[in-house]
């Protein structure tokens, strides 16, 4: 055994400079691959892996100390002679562990679905306890730094799915020195002004971009009417985002228009099946089937779009209420007079009757079909409205956020959502179809995204225009260990979704917990292959990726201009990186479009080929002085001294800098 471990040690030193990888030294790896791969770690043989997982009962050997001193990160589960060797010893007492507190988010309740009887273990001097049993304070997760490496000890395995017990396990690993291997800057995030009224937008723009956010979808209903202070805030927010290379979308939640619109037009309010105004949850729904109302809303939207420097429009959740469907008449819409009249004309009876005397299945089916068709018509009309606006403001991208009704097939009946009826519109009006994870499946595991993607591909939706919206909110289901996705669960969701969809959006930036922000870009990176071939590192990614790299680099044999001091940004596909002896030229530090190629042209100019559904922002390390777009000289459009605004679409640009 000892000699075997010694053999493992020798090559480990040679590979220490490589990207972090992992190995599970157990016949049953459990959920460790899902956990560690969720932030991009690749599985490698134990002889070269930096992160090594050893299960309960792992035998002690002095070689492990050496390997940790040399930089290995050992993860030890439960009791074992090896854990004892590092000082994690079983005490006499036991504790019934059912909840814990973690230093990474001390106020977050972490509750285990099934409590476990565990021995109380002593941790060695100098160890940092990351998680404790909530009521007794017994240590459940602790780390110990030794030389260039560290040991992370868990009182028990992290569970079958990997996130049942220790949500902040990966944060603990990074606190012990693990640097995740890849970064992505392609996430979208929703932004609700109501939660951020008093923040400094400039401060937050920096945080968002660091967290890998490429576009912010801003709650536009707060700005529907003119208001000097609010308008100034939004203008500042947009400017701050653009200055950091973040696009800003106008997020509409029709038929909710605005608070003031609701107050001003009680005559246009939507009605529920019990005849009440449809104020459901936070939304105050308007009757868009009413022509006068629709005209007023349309004019307001147009004015809103032209009042601010938006990059796109997101038409979200444009259908009816509620998830409880016809079973709950007090939340069931639309039953305004216009809808009732139209239905009566077509089918000869008032739809309100289906909640009274006419409860037969056929009548109900008739109205539910009518309602789904009405929702589709409404979506088509409003996409048409937006398309009309885009004729005057062509920079705008369009997104339709639509709840999934393929995976959860009850959605058509519940809220009238029918993706199969909407998707054919993509052929006529180009838009990104953003699938909203329905609340009914928020408790299911990350694998659901593969299945959702598969079902939309079956509808022949354009894969490059499919996005997924992950709701990071407190779930109404009885879920564990946290009500809202965080830590390992969040990273698994984002990682799985990033591999299955062209674009991943998070609802919403305010609900993301601070402890998660640093690892989010790594979770969003979709990397298929990593290989070291001689001095070259070959990385294959689905949508482009940032790879940690110090100093000048050559990509595919050519000096590469798209990089920071710590990261090289690669386009999608397989590319090799190697160290470059060339002098450093001007650099693109950050780019939020889809990079296709880059190189240095004559006189140190930067040539970029890119594709982007909305305007793209290139953050440079110096001021650009001239620009050539698809062979035509142009004056650079700058939103700040070093941030270049580039048009949407597919283009080749040549940038000359100071």
């Amino acid at each position: 055994m000892r000699s075997a471990i010694s053999l493992l040690l020798l090559p480990a030193l040679a590979a220490a400079a490589g990207l972090p990888s992992y190995s599970v030294l157990s016949e049953e790896p459990g959920a460790w691959p899902q956990i560690l791969e969720s932030i991009g770690l690749q599985r490698k043989p134990a002889s070269v892996a930096r992160v090594l997982v050893l299960g309960e009962g792992a035998l002690a050997a002095p070689e492990w100390s050496t390997r940790v001193q040399d930089g290995a990160l050992l993860i030890l589960e439960g009791e074992s002679p090896l854990a004892e060797m590092f000082g994690f010893r079983r005490g006499d007492a036991n504790v019934r562990a059912g909840s814990l507190t973690d230093v990474h988010d001390a106020k977050l309740p972490v509750v285990w679905e099934r409590a476990l009887e565990l021995p109380v273990c002593h941790v060695p001097d100098g160890a940092q306890v990351f998680a404790r049993e909530r009521w007794s304070g017994a240590p459940l997760m602790a780390g110990l730094r030794r030389g260039a490496g560290a040991v992370l000890w868990l009182a028990v395995s992290p569970g079958n799915r990997g996130y049942e017990r220790f949500p902040y396990l990966l944060q603990a690993l990074t606190a012990l020195g693990l640097e995740p291997p890849f970064h992505s800057g392609r996430l979208w995030a929703f932004f609700d002004y109501a939660y951020r009224m008093r923040v400094d937008p400039l401060y937050f723009a920096g945080l968002w971009r660091k967290a890998g956010i490429a576009a912010l979808h801003v709650s536009a209903w707060h700005f529907f009417e003119r208001d000097e202070a609010r308008d100034r805030y939004l203008a500042e927010l947009i400017q701050a985002c653009h200055g950091r290379g973040i696009q800003v979308y106008c997020w509409l939640e029709l038929p909710h228009v605005s608070e003031k619109f609701w107050e001003s037009h009680p005559e246009w309010r939507e009605k529920t099946a019990v005849g009440q105004d449809a104020h459901l949850d936070w939304r105050k729904l308007m009757n868009l089937q009413n022509h006068a109302c629709a005209r007023a809303v349309s004019a307001g939207v147009r004015e809103l779009i032209f009042r601010f420097d938006w990059d796109g429009i997101n038409l979200a959740e444009l259908y009816f209420e509620s998830l409880e469907g016809i079973d709950n008449p007090s939340r069931f819409t639309p039953l305004n007079d216009d809808v009732r009249e139209e239905f009566r004309r077509r089918h000869g009876f008032d739809p309100l009757e289906i909640f009274g005397a006419r409860k037969d299945t056929a009548s109900r089916r008739l109205f539910l079909n009518f309602r789904a068709e009405l929702a589709r018509r409404m979506q088509e009309e409003w996409l048409g409205e937006i398309e009309g606006i885009r004729r005057d403001k062509p920079q705008l991208d369009v997104v339709l956020t639509h709840v999934d009704d393929r995976f959860d097939e009850g959605m058509r009946e519940a809220i009238g959502a029918d993706a199969a009826a909407v998707l054919p519109l993509m052929a006529r009006i180009p838009f990104t179809f953003m699938v909203e994870d329905p609340a009914t499946v928020w408790h299911l595991g990350p694998q659901r995204y593969l299945e959702i993607a598969r079902r939309y591909e079956a509808l022949e939706a354009r894969k490059d225009r499919l996005a997924i919206d992950i709701n990071i909110v407190e779930r109404y289901q009885d879920v564990y260990p946290t009500k809202q996705q965080t830590g390992v669960e969040l990273f698994q969701l984002v990682h799985m979704a990033s591999g299955a969809f062209e674009r991943v959006a998070l609802y919403f930036e305010n609900s993301l917990r601070k402890a998660d922000l640093a690892l989010l870009p790594s979770a969003a990176a979709a990397v298929g292959r990593v290989e070291r071939i001689g001095p070259k590192l070959v990385v294959e990614s689905a949508y482009g990726v940032g790879v940690p790299w110090d100093g000048p680099a050559m990509v595919d044999g050519r000096p590469w201009p798209v990089r920071t001091d710590r990261l090289v940004w690669l386009p999608a596909g397989a590319h090799s990186i190697e160290a470059s002896a060339a002098m450093d030229g001007p650099r693109v530090l950050d780019f939020n479009g889809d990079l296709q190629s880059a190189r240095y042209g004559r006189d140190g100019r930067i040539e970029l080929a890119y594709r982007s559904q909305a305007r793209a922002f290139a953050v440079l390390d110096r001021r650009p002085v001239s620009l050539e777009l698809d062979g035509v000289d142009m004056q650079p459009d700058l939103c700040s001294p070093q941030v270049l605004v580039l048009p949407r679409g597919q283009h080749l640009v040549t940038i000359r800098t100071e």
């Binding site: 009224m197 400094d200 401060y203 104020h279």
Partner: protein, 667 residues
């Protein structure tokens, strides 16, 4: 002079620097340059230096707001309000933040206070804010009340109404509708927690504790956790259990816990009643059925017990059913549990964990995993065998024997034979009658004779501190030594009595290696055919540590044997033997060896020379592993010295080469 010094001191004190000045100055500088994180840590230093300054708290709060830390900002405003209760502007800021961070109840209360007590400007703002909160709450309450009146009285309507009512401090209304909502969906345990919280706010402590106790047992772990936060830290009293059950009648786990509590309190009658309710309410609760059945059985009520126990036997909990079978003295059932998902995989996993635990010496954990493995795959006889060994190591031999008994029926010959051997060995020690035979023939160069000791003994297990036995000893040699009856004879009659001694005796059980015994019998000399009475008895002690002869692997060992023996035959003498061995065992391969050093002491009360000597020297003990494990060989080279030489016809020192073999078995 004194007055002058006093004035100087006052002046110095007056000029003493503001401890918060420096961090504050730097904090404002950081704030101006939008370095919020630095500003936060500097403000915290300033607060540490001047914790009672409301203005610093406010500026800290505004800095938190810039970076989106609204809850931290709210806490600073709360402190500022505490420090300056009359500052209505701060109170309003606090209230707004309460509203933004979800503490609507608190926000509404503060706005309500300021609109009545504040300055005119604050009053106006507070009034507007209060109405902004209160208006929608009032409208919402009215709307949901109307919805319920119109027939929409479902869970959602009651729950929404209760939530709004709680936010509006209409606690009676909130409690009514939380309860209504919970009654509609009793599985939503979090609503029970809401109800408990509101009752607590209404100072209905008993009701609150009942709701919270009910929520803390059974159902959703998260709700249970929340309930625990609100419950008193102590363990609940029986009346509180009863109150909780009155509210939540169908809470089986709560009732079962109460029943077990009553049992611990020796209130069996009440416990039985609770178990009875459970078994009527939920026929699938086999644990309660078994427990109640055992209670009936315990007091001889077989008529009531059997239907319950039969229910358990019919159920799908094999382990529980086997416990019932054990009590009813029925054969254990070895059926694979049909409902178990992938039992083989689960069993494999648990088996691996068990093996690791055994290797690491964690026998209790090994036992736990083996039980899981058995549960997952109840016909895996290998697991049963391991369970047997584990129980055996844990000194629970009756359980061990049960598992060996099951495992010896294995179709795997290896498992079956190992289990058979172990079962026989244990059964003999646990059976009512146990017969053991041992023999130890050896050659002594000192006496140039081959001696043999042996005993056939039958023990009878009786429920008393001492157990009777029948014994037949053989003590003889090949040189046919005659007992001259003279203890001073040079012949080794004390090594060979050339007799068979039949006796009956009493022995204590072995306790930590110590045993007491005594017997009375008849000695029949097989050479002279003399028959003489024989009485002997004493205490015997044996302990060994380290690697045994049959152990795998190498290692040190030590053993000690001490005997105090009364023998009527030698003139009612009392002899002491103390024999020690320290050595190293090499326990792998076909030959297991132990090398050791002997250190022996023999003495007696009657001070006979032959019974007082010491001896020491090397020895080896070995066991060819192909032979039965109870057969072994020894070779010893001993150098001895008499400690009493009066009457000793020999030299005071001696050498002795002894070679012998030991064999024992029991049944």
């Amino acid at each position: 002079m004194r007055a002058g010094l006093f004035l100087l001191a006052c002046g110095l004190l007056a000029q003493s620097p503001d401890p918060a000045y420096e961090p504050l100055a730097k904090a404002y500088e950081a704030l101006r340059s939008r370095h919020y994180d630095a500003a936060v840590s500097l403000f915290l230093k300033a607060i540490e230096a001047a914790p009672e300054r409301a203005a610093v708290r406010r500026d800290m709060a505004y800095t938190y707001l810039k970076i989106g830390e609204n809850e931290l900002a709210r806490e600073q405003f709360r402190e500022a309000v505490r420090l300056e209760p009359s500052n209505h502007h701060t109170a309003l800021e606090y209230a707004f933040l309460c509203f933004e961070t979800g503490e609507k109840v608190q926000a509404r209360r503060i706005f309500d206070r300021v609109r009545r007590e504040g300055d005119p400007e604050s009053r106006a703002t507070a009034e507007q804010a209060f109405q902004n909160i209160d208006g929608p709450l009032a409208a919402g309450i009215a709307r949901w009340q109307e919805a319920i009146r119109l027939g929409g009285g479902n869970f959602s309507a009651h729950y929404e109404l209760a939530t709004l009512a709680e936010q509006r401090d209409e606690l009676e209304l909130a409690a009514r509708h939380y309860e209504a909502a919970w009654r509609l969906l009793p599985d939503r345990r979090s609503v029970l927690v809401d109800l408990g919280r509101v009752w607590k706010a209404l100072n209905r402590v008993e009701q609150a504790n009942a709701a919270l106790l009910a929520a803390s047992r059974g159902g959703q772990a998260r709700a249970a956790e929340k309930a625990r936060e609100l419950l008193p830290a102590r363990y609940p009293y029986v009346p509180e259990f009863l109150a909780a059950l009155e509210l939540d009648v169908r809470n089986i786990e709560l009732r079962r816990e109460l029943a077990y509590l009553l049992l611990r309190m020796k209130r069996q009658k009440e416990a039985e009643e609770e178990f009875r309710i459970i078994t009527r309410m939920d026929e699938s609760d086999l644990l309660s059925a078994a427990q109640l059945g055992f209670l009936y059985l315990g007091r001889g009520d077989r008529i009531n017990a059997m239907p319950l126990l039969e229910r358990v036997l019919r159920g799908d909990d094999i382990e529980l059913a086997n416990r019932v079978r054990a009590v009813l003295r029925l054969p254990q059932q070895l059926q694979r549990r049909a409902a178990a998902a992938s039992p083989a995989a689960a069993s494999l996993d648990a088996k691996q964990m068990a093996e690791r635990s055994m290797r690491a010496g964690y026998m209790k954990d090994a036992l736990k995993y083996l039980q899981l493995a058995h549960e997952a795959d109840p016909v895996d006889t290998n697991v049963m065998l391991k369970l047997g060994w584990t129980y055996n190591i844990l000194k629970q031999d009756s359980m061990a024997a049960r598992w060996f008994d099951l495992a010896r029926r294995s179709t795997d010959p290896g498992v079956a034979s190992e289990a058979q051997r172990a079962w026989r060995s244990l059964r003999s020690s646990l059976g009512r009658v146990r017969t053991s035979v041992w023999a130890f023939p050896f050659y002594s160069s000192r006496w140039r004779d081959l001696f043999s000791y042996g005993q056939f003994r039958t023990d009878f297990r009786v429920p008393f501190p001492v157990q009777p036995y029948f014994s037949a000893r053989f003590i003889g040699d090949v040189r046919r030594t005659m007992d001259s009856g003279s203890l001073g004879s040079s012949q080794p009659q004390y090594l060979s009595e050339s007799a068979v001694i039949a006796a009956v005796g009493l022995t204590t059980p072995v306790w930590k290696g110590l045993r007491g015994w005594g017997e009375a019998g008849t000695s029949i000399n097989y050479l002279t055919h003399h028959v003489t009475p024989d009485y002997r008895g004493g205490v015997a002690y044996f302990r060994g540590f380290g690697r045994g002869l049959a152990s795998e692997g190498s290692g040190w060992f030590t053993e000690t044997a001490a005997d105090g023996l009364f023998v009527s035959r030698f003139g009612d003498d009392v002899l002491f033997y103390w024999q020690n061995r320290l050595g190293f065992g090499q326990g792998a391969g076909p030959l297991r060896l132990q090398f050791y050093i002997n250190a022996n002491l023999t003495a007696d009360v009657r001070r006979q020379y032959w019974a007082n000597f010491v001896e020491s020297g090397p020895g080896v003990r070995f066991w060819p592993s192909a032979l039965p494990s109870s057969l072994y060989f020894t070779v010893n080279f001993l150098r001895g010295a008499y400690t009493l030489n009066r009457g000793n016809p020999r030299r005071p020192n001696f050498f002795d080469f002894r070679a012998g073999m030991g064999y024992a078995f029991s049944y």
